[in-house]
């Protein structure tokens, strides 16, 4: 490889010519391995790979919502236990939960839980497409149930369950 003649770039012409630039990749994160018979270059994946694209960032936030799902279970169990222990313990739970720090945590948690719900509902039509048989009359025969219908149905279920739970507590 060492004797390969380098092209004479100084004679290149064009609209504005050729300008050699500096390196984008730091040599230290290199991994040169023999691939296809030559020393090929394989960049390391940065720990912050997910901040580089909005889609990746949203994905990681969605995955982190799992922490707040666990938090929701903790809150629910602590609440249930407190109620079961009697009025005094329940009051202590309410006081603890009203602490501004806890309120902020719960607000953040609620936001992440809603992120989970939104992303989960949106992905369902793609993960479980429902095909309409060709025997069914209409323009959608042979196609999948439209995604918007599947998403709407899930939200209807969500609203129904939420309303029912609220009613159980408020009545």
């Amino acid at each position: 490889m060492a004797d390969v003649a380098r092209p004479d770039r100084s004679k290149a012409s064009g609209v504005a010519g050729v300008r050699p630039e500096g390196s984008r990749w730091a040599p230290h994160d290199s991994q040169v391995e023999i691939s296809a018979g030559v020393p090929a270059y394989r960049p390391r994946v940065s720990l912050l790979w997910w901040v580089r694209k909005p889609a990746y960032l949203l994905f990681v936030l969605r995955e982190l919502s799992s922490l707040f799902v666990a938090w929701f279970v903790v809150v629910t169990l602590f609440f249930t236990w407190s109620v079961g222990r009697g009025e005094e313990q329940y009051e202590r739970f309410l006081d603890l939960a009203a602490n501004p720090l806890i309120v902020v945590v719960n607000l953040v948690a609620l936001a992440f839980l809603l992120l989970h719900t939104v992303t989960w509902f949106n992905l369902t039509p793609q993960a479980m497409p429902l095909r309409i048989p060709r025997a069914v009359p209409g323009g959608l025969r042979g196609r999948s149930v439209p995604a918007v219908a599947v998403v709407a149905a899930q939200w209807a279920g969500f609203v129904f369950v939420s309303a029912f739970v609220m009613w159980l507590v408020v009545r």
């Binding site: 490889m1 889609a55 990746y56 994905f59």
Partner: protein
Amino acid sequence: MADSITLQVTRYEPGVDEAPREQSFDVPMRSEWVVLDGLNYVKDKLDGSLSYRWSCRMGICGSCGMVVNGEPVLTCSSFLVDYTPGPIRVEPLANFPIVRDLIVDIGDFMAKLPRVSPWLVRDDERPVEDGEYLQTPEELDEYKQFSMCINCMLCYSACPVYGLDPDFVGPAAIALAQRYNFDSRDEGAAQRLEALIHPDGLWACTYVGECTTACPKDVDPAGAIQRYKLTAALESLKSYILPGGA
């Protein structure tokens, strides 16, 4: 419209360069030109040593996939005018070893693809005299979308799991497995499942969904993989509840 636009192109000469570097070229701005036309201009007029893959220049061969301004695209289908005023970063596909300039080694995919038996598997091969395998339009609908894959590897470039886990089979391979699983003429679903049910097969996928976003042929590999997870999980359940094979 400006006269020219700058392409910032990755250069790497194996054995000479320690790491890839960037080189800028100014190419004419023409409304009908795509990034590939810009690269061809560079090679023809500015620097003949620039190396890259291309063939059909019409979005069907899958050769010209590169990362343009951070997104994996087919350079034959990416118009210069959509990137004005530039500069346009042109890098090789991510998650593959860079062999030279914009050329990557996709040997890993070529090794993984046969594992999913991407062909019609039959228990009994019917003789030619018996005639064709008949298929209704509904049966064609079931797998047609997944048959559109042109092996361009944009999905592998977009998939962060493939970048992090070199053993992951990857989106296109799984989508192609589904292309045959859903084909009414095929009888190889069990054997493909066997190949894909281990942790680096289906289960490494965390449904990022960028593979589907990147796919130029609307194959929707993410959807294919999620459907496969459900199938695989139900088959596993069945194999426990009904021992001796369902």
